[in-house]
Amino acid sequence: MNNSMSASKTEVRIKRDVGGMVCASLFLLLGAVCLYETTQMTDPDSFMFPRMVITGLMGLSLALIVTSVFKATVPVAEKSQSGAAPSTLRRVLLVAAMMGATLLMPWVGFLLSATGAFIALMLLAQYDPWTKGKLLLYSFVAVAIVAGFYGVFSYLLQVPLPEGSLIQFP
């Protein structure tokens, strides 16, 4: 996101809420697609409410786009406690790791994929350098937590966690 206007520039530029407008346009698109879906429905009870909601969604999105064109806005800069710039890479990797684990679960089973995600996230969230002691302690805690939760959910709560089709463990 752009930062506020820099003082050195002499021209005054209106910073528009581009992000908001893009989101609103996407909502507009979503609304249109869903509206089309409702035409496939035969029972009026089915599409009555969704059509009202979609109309509201599309109308409001349009209103947002129009008003954003004329309104200047100061985007909120991200505050961070340590002053460092937030790492987009780590963010994306977090989501990717969790998503990957979920997608792998039917093949590899719950325990392996969740442990993999755990380790990946542990590495992502760690900013201080790794010492031998820390590595040992963290690995131990990781195993304890994963095993503990697995045990509680699988045996105590009798939740049938996914079993892998390719690899079965335990």
Partner: protein, 320 residues
């Protein structure tokens, strides 16, 4: 020539040995606890009947029946995952009619009726017209009179579109030549609340509602072959001239990959539970009627039921 007879002998003995082994397997089933997946949430009627079966299963087979839930989509989520489960006989799933017949025909729900391998249909809760205890309708005729004089104003609450009671309402409207209005609620609890709160005039529900809420509601008629022992004063639709015998059916299905003999085994255990006097008493006290549709009779049963349901659903506009 000798080779042929030797081959025959080998084939014959192999078959015999195989049969012997499968016989052994039959005798030993079940050897561990059986997973009973309910495709609805806890607390519902499918859950309750499963819990009724649990102790009798243990008594008959000495193994635990472990109940777990896979709710969503009115059962669709569970049924669409049925064939991904292991077909070793230790995974069974509850099934409901008319859901498994109607749902796949409405839209892509992730399974077709043929995907469901039913091994037993062990009970049904008959449809019934339920009214408040203090309702002016004393007999079915009162209701019909009102309906004929006030088309569309006879409001029925029901547990949802496409459910057994909805199909019953459609069929009955046709049989009695009346026009009533079905107001769909989310489940029998909400439908009953609407009835008691006088939002509607009557409810298309089940005999189980009459059994559980005696004193608050009355049944005007039940959709069974003969009067129920628990409701000796309630006439059947048949008696009153309407050939309506229907309800919400419950049964057990297994993954497609389950071998034939295991299917029969499971069917037998469920039938045995049904024969237990104590179990029968419990179920009948709740207004349920026990059935004896075992695996052998399943195909014919499903065919007949499917035909009925599809015809009614088409008339109700649920499917094209």
């Amino acid at each position: 020539m000798a080779c042929k007879s030797i081959l025959n002998f080998i084939a014959g003995s192999t078959v015999t040995v195989a049969l012997a082994f499968s016989g052994l397997a039959q005798a030993d089933y079940p050897e561990q606890s059986v997973n009973y997946v309910i495709p609805f949430g806890p607390g519902g009627e499918s859950d309750i009947t499963a819990r009724y079966q649990q102790p009798f299963f243990k008594k008959l087979s000495d193994q635990d029946l472990v109940i777990s839930y896979k709710p969503g989509g009115g059962g669709a989520v569970g049924w669409s995952q049925l064939n991904t489960m292991k077909g070793d006989g230790y995974n069974i799933m509850g099934i409901n009619l008319p859901h498994i017949v109607i749902a796949p025909l409405q839209k892509d729900v992730g399974f077709t009726t043929e995907d469901i391998t039913a091994v037993s249909m062990f009970h049904y809760t008959p449809d019934a017209i339920v009214v408040r205890e203090d309702s002016p309708f004393q007999t079915l005729d009162d209701l019909l009179l009102f309906a004929k004089e006030n088309p569309k104003r006879l409001l029925f609450s029901g547990s949802g579109k496409g459910t057994a009671n909805h199909l019953a309402q459609v069929r009955f409207d046709e049989m009695a030549d009346i026009q009533s209005t079905y107001v769909a609620f989310k489940g029998t609890g909400d439908a009953l609340a609407a009835l008691l709160g006088e939002q509607v005039l009557a409810e298309w529900g089940y005999t189980s509602i009459g059994a559980k809420h005696e004193g608050q509601v009355r049944l005007l008629a039940v959709a069974t072959e003969a009067r129920l022992p628990h409701f000796p004063d309630v006439p059947t639709f048949k008696e009153l001239g309407f050939d309506l015998v229907s309800g919400a059916y419950r049964g057990i299905a297994v993954p497609k990959s389950t071998p034939e003999d295991v299917r029969t085994q499971i069917s037998n255990i469920i039938s045995d539970i049904n024969s237990d006097q104590e179990f029968r008493q419990r179920m009948e006290k709740d207004g349920m009627v026990l059935l004896d549709v075992s695996y052998e009779k399943m195909d014919a049963f499903m065919q007949q039921k499917s035909k009925e349901y599809i015809a009614t659903a088409k008339r109700a506009g649920l499917i094209k």
